[in-house]
Symmetry: C2
Amino acid sequence: MKEGPDISRIAALIGDPGRANILTALMAGKALTASELAEEAGVSLPTASGHLAKLADGGLIAGDKQGRHRYFRLAGPEAAQLLEALMGFASGQGLLRLRTGPKDQALREARVCYNHLAGRRGVQMFDFLRTSGFVTEGETVALTAAGAAFVAGFGVDLARLQLGRGAVCLCCLDWSERRSHLAGSLGRALLAAMESKSWLKREPAGRAVVFNPAGVEGFEAVFGV
Amino acid sequence: MKEGPDISRIAALIGDPGRANILTALMAGKALTASELAEEAGVSLPTASGHLAKLADGGLIAGDKQGRHRYFRLAGPEAAQLLEALMGFASGQGLLRLRTGPKDQALREARVCYNHLAGRRGVQMFDFLRTSGFVTEGETVALTAAGAAFVAGFGVDLARLQLGRGAVCLCCLDWSERRSHLAGSLGRALLAAMESKSWLKREPAGRAVVFNPAGVEGFEAVFGV
DNA sequence: CGAATGCTTCGGCCAAAATCAAACCATGAA
DNA sequence: TTCATGGTTTGATTTTGGCCGAAGCATTCG
């Protein structure tokens, strides 16, 4: 009895609605201040502050103090992956939030997941990279030589990514599509490239991403079948 | 705000130590009675009964009534995968159970994960299947023709598996190795085949699996580099 | 230097939920 | 049938933990 890692602590951490809201908000990848997160979670500032301390203590989020603000973000890709896994299970159980509106549809189409592209578009892009032989197919994802050339042509400074601390390529299970999409610093860079091409814009609040007509055209031209 | 699936409910479900213990016990794949689970969770029978009802309601476990017993098991591979994901994160945070003894070592070496082989041995087997071209390398795992012949030679009745309801091949992220191993009905069948070859035996209580000398030899001969 | 803003800490309040004893069903055995 | 066993339900108790107001730091601005 009582074998393996103790899962109840982190699960309990995520199990509070307020904290879950905070985490979901942080999935957008942007760093948010304590006040913003309090608003997001629908809770008073002191309460949110307590939650944030607990989440940080549990290794789910991290906070950087800057001036008189404190910016919180997810602790890392592992935390994001765990949250997506939970969302996947919950959505499989039909435990969607009540009153799923058009916003939910937009999320399934394209959204940001810890700063990389997720949803139908994200999976489509990952599929394209795989079938084109731009990333390896195996257990560990990696760029091929052809893939390096491709992303360079797309406007990604690969050498810079490889200097960074985190992994360049990671798989992340998509909760709405139930397939993987590309995470890691390359995933972030590709999303950034699309933003600088003005293909899409992020919803000011939330994770949704909307492609404009030119963006759809460009995306299909590059990543379409 | 408040987008995506509501993760707090299932997380809260797993977040209670008693329920977490129950789930961890069920990861061994065996169906257990309510009394056994109460014992395992260190809680009285009525309490456990309440927990079990909640877990079943949340879609994490399922129970079959047989005579005057009621046997509980994990609801399915998705639930098992979610729990392994949580364990992976927890173990990364150093949130192992206090007092990790030799038992923990045994778990990392080989254990059962919802009835298929996990731990170092499980990952080794999966790696072998992949590098030998017996399963496809892509997003969705599947047996190749050569793979079908291989597992048939190992004593697996493949046609029978394909009749079953669940998927034949699934990836499952291993919390100790941080790599995938093979789940699905084929994973179960392979473990069963090894048991019938008397390569290993399950610890009577818990998830650990121990290979005997002949088992190690046979395993290395088949799945070794 | 105040004054204002952002956040954390402290205190007490309250509701949700875990817990178990005891009573209650249902099944199987004598 | 009567007894025994496994499980659930009920009810009362207790604990946990979220919650906010008020006060306390820290930083920045006027």
